[in-house]
């Protein structure tokens, strides 16, 4: 039974691939081996076969067969859409194979094996050059393959997400728009449907499995979408602070200061940008009596109140 269906699927693929014109359903039933039974059975068979092939990623084109008979649609598979007809040279194949070797997660093994098998069927022998060899490094992140799949299919997903400043996690519904790796951590950037805003999500903070909650192709990714605009770590720090730092201290701040001027024999005045007030607060407190805030006033009073609190605890 199952082998009859396999045979029919292969025959259907070959027939649709081999036809230049669109083949109508009645033509398919008449000419392709394996369609038998009454009209209704054949129709059901064909619908299921069509879905199976599409689920396997095979594009079946649908169009009107003949302008005079608009009610009868036809089907075909374009060879350019089904098979690799482009040229890859030996070095390119070698690079692809090195790249795929990084995907060590079991989630990816089916994909990478199948891709390698098909590339090895191109009658070009991959060429491995030592200069591209990479030390042991693996792309391995829970949920990554599901996120990529959802991004590729443009499917809305939901997951439980833990915010960085909270112990609790909450459910988010997101349209994936892009994926980024930043210093070894993976991020999904997507439209957060609860907040109606584009947000970045760290994959390691997804506390539940990823569920697909829409049909494929349920939204569009704008062609000019640039993920870098939404990655907060790429934003240049904007919170400007003026500090005085003892000449003997704070080398790590001096290295990234916008300007350093001589204040007196003991102190230098530096202008420096932080990504937010809290970071400026921590860096200043960290330096203890080697730094004082000149401005802004809000930061200055925050530092003073924290120092008073510390004195109250430890004084």
């Amino acid at each position: 039974m199952s082998s009859a269906k396999t045979e029919r699927l292969v025959n259907l693929t070959m027939a649709l691939l081999g036809t230049k014109r669109f083949m109508t359903k009645s033509e398919i039933f008449r000419r392709v081996a394996g369609y038998s039974g009454n009209q209704e059975t054949k129709e059901r068979m064909f619908e299921r076969d069509k879905d199976d092939l599409r689920n396997l990623g095979i594009e079946i084109e649908v169009a009107s067969h003949d302008p005079l008979f608009e009610d009868e649609v036809g089907y075909r598979i374009r060879p350019e859409a089904f098979q690799i007809h482009e040229k890859f040279d030996a070095e390119e194949l070698g690079l692809i194979s090195v790249a795929l070797q990084q995907l060590k997660d079991d989630d990816f093994s089916g994909t990478t094996e199948s891709l390698m098998l098909r590339l090895n069927s191109l009658s070009v022998t991959p060429e491995f050059s030592d200069e591209f060899s990479i030390s042991e490094r693996a792309i391995s992140e829970a949920g990554l393959s599901e996120v990529l799949e959802a991004l590729s299919d443009r499917v809305t997903i939901s997951f439980n997400y833990q915010k960085s400043d909270s112990k609790n996690s909450e459910e988010r519904r997101v349209n994936p728009l892009g994926v980024s790796a930043w210093r070894g951590s993976w991020y999904l950037v997507g439209e957060d449907l609860e907040r109606d805003d584009i947000r970045a999500f760290k994959l390691s903070r997804m506390k539940s499995g990823i569920t697909r909650i829409s049909k494929a192709g349920s939204f569009q990714i704008p062609p000019d979408f640039d993920i870098k605009e939404y990655l907060v770590m790429l934003k240049a720090p904007e919170y400007s602070v003026v500090l005085q730092v003892r000449k003997s201290a704070g080398l790590h701040l001096r290295n990234r200061a916008a300007s350093i001027t001589d204040y007196d024999d003991e102190w230098d005045q530096i202008e420096i940008f932080f990504s937010h007030e809290n970071q400026a607060l921590k860096e200043t407190l960290w330096l203890g009596d080697d730094a004082r805030v000149i401005g802004p006033d809000s930061l200055k009073s925050l530092v003073i109140s924290r120092l008073e609190k510390l004195v109250a605890i430890y004084g």
Binding site: N11, L117, S123, A181, L251, I313
Partner: protein, 299 residues
């Protein structure tokens, strides 16, 4: 598990171009390449033999034969070329190539970049080029040199920035071990200039150079003593999540192992009262002193 007819059909379709490009390949090798048993492969070949184009005369059927355990294919019909990448496969490949690109120095990365662009162009995707972005770990190159030094038994010359003092020092070190923690990587090493074991924060090591001097063979003594401190953390502080791996939960707070007391003192200061250091008393005193002399600066 019963294999679906569709999954098997795809395997048959993928078998054809493989056989075309590997004429005379053995049954055994093919079976292992496709992850199936020889028996299953022979059944697949029997089935393929019956597939073809409408008409289904011998001229239109896939023509293959198995002789002495070797497979040859005479007519693949229209299945000669391998199946294209699906959209999700092409996306995974783009991700893998971006990651590889990020690993390589110029000009090698240019070749990978060109290939990645070719893949995006050929396998037209609804996911635009700029929807993917990769930036690797800048400490990777440093780690590579450190690992090489450990395996080759050679000393390293480093330039180290000590944030506690405004100084950059050059040191020659024999790496003892690498401790990877969630937010930082620490290197324990025998330091020639200070004649003792010191702990270095990888992110503060600015230049690393290989030397030809063999590492200190004799088991270095005088390892920095480890102090145990205890802290109490307010619920709205990130201290716990930022220092996971170093903290051990105890009844009334957390215990933390410290190699450099001054490092913890500064961290406690930076928390501005959200984390209270309970012990040791010496360090409590130091936090209090630093806070009050800092407060004096504003009077």
């Amino acid at each position: 598990m019963v294999e679906s007819a569709a999954a098997r059909a795809i395997r048959l379709i993928d078998l054809v171009p493989y056989l075309v490009s590997h004429q005379g390949v053995s049954v055994k090798e093919t079976a292992s390449r496709f992850g199936i048993s020889v028996t299953d492969l022979l059944k697949d070949l029997d089935l393929l033999f019956m597939c073809g184009l409408p008409g289904y005369t011998p001229l239109e059927l896939i023509d293959l034969s198995v002789e002495d355990g070797q497979i040859s294919i005479r007519d693949p019909q229209n299945l000669e070329a391998p199946r294209r990448f699906t959209q999700s496969e092409a996306l995974i490949l783009r991700v893998a190539l971006s990651a590889l690109e990020d690993l390589l120095p110029q000009p090698k990365r240019e070749k990978v970049q060109k290939l990645r662009e070719k893949i995006s162009r050929l396998f037209s995707s609804d996911v635009p080029e700029d929807a993917l972005f990769f930036q690797g770990d800048p400490s990777r190159e440093k780690m590579k040199l450190i690992e090489e030094a450990i395996s080759s038994g050679k000393k390293l010359r480093i330039r180290y920035l000590n944030p506690l003092r405004a100084e950059r020092s050059e040191r020659v070190i024999s790496v003892l071990r690498v401790k990877a923690e969630p937010k930082r990587t620490l290197i324990d090493a025998w330091c020639d200039s200070s004649k003792g074991v010191r702990t270095f924060n990888l992110s503060q090591i600015h230049d690393i150079e290989k030397t030809n001097e063999p590492i200190e063979k004799e088991e270095p003594r005088g390892e920095e003593s480890v102090l145990l401190a205890k802290v109490k953390v307010a619920p709205d502080s990130h201290f716990v999540s930022e220092n996971q791996g170093q903290l051990r939960k105890v009844a009334d707070g957390y215990e933390i192992e410290i190699f450099q007391p001054e490092w913890l003192v500064r961290k406690i200061l930076a928390e501005g009262g959200l984390v209270e250091l309970l012990s040791p008393g010496q360090m409590r005193k130091r936090v209090g002193e630093l806070a009050s002399s800092a407060l004096v600066l504003y009077k």
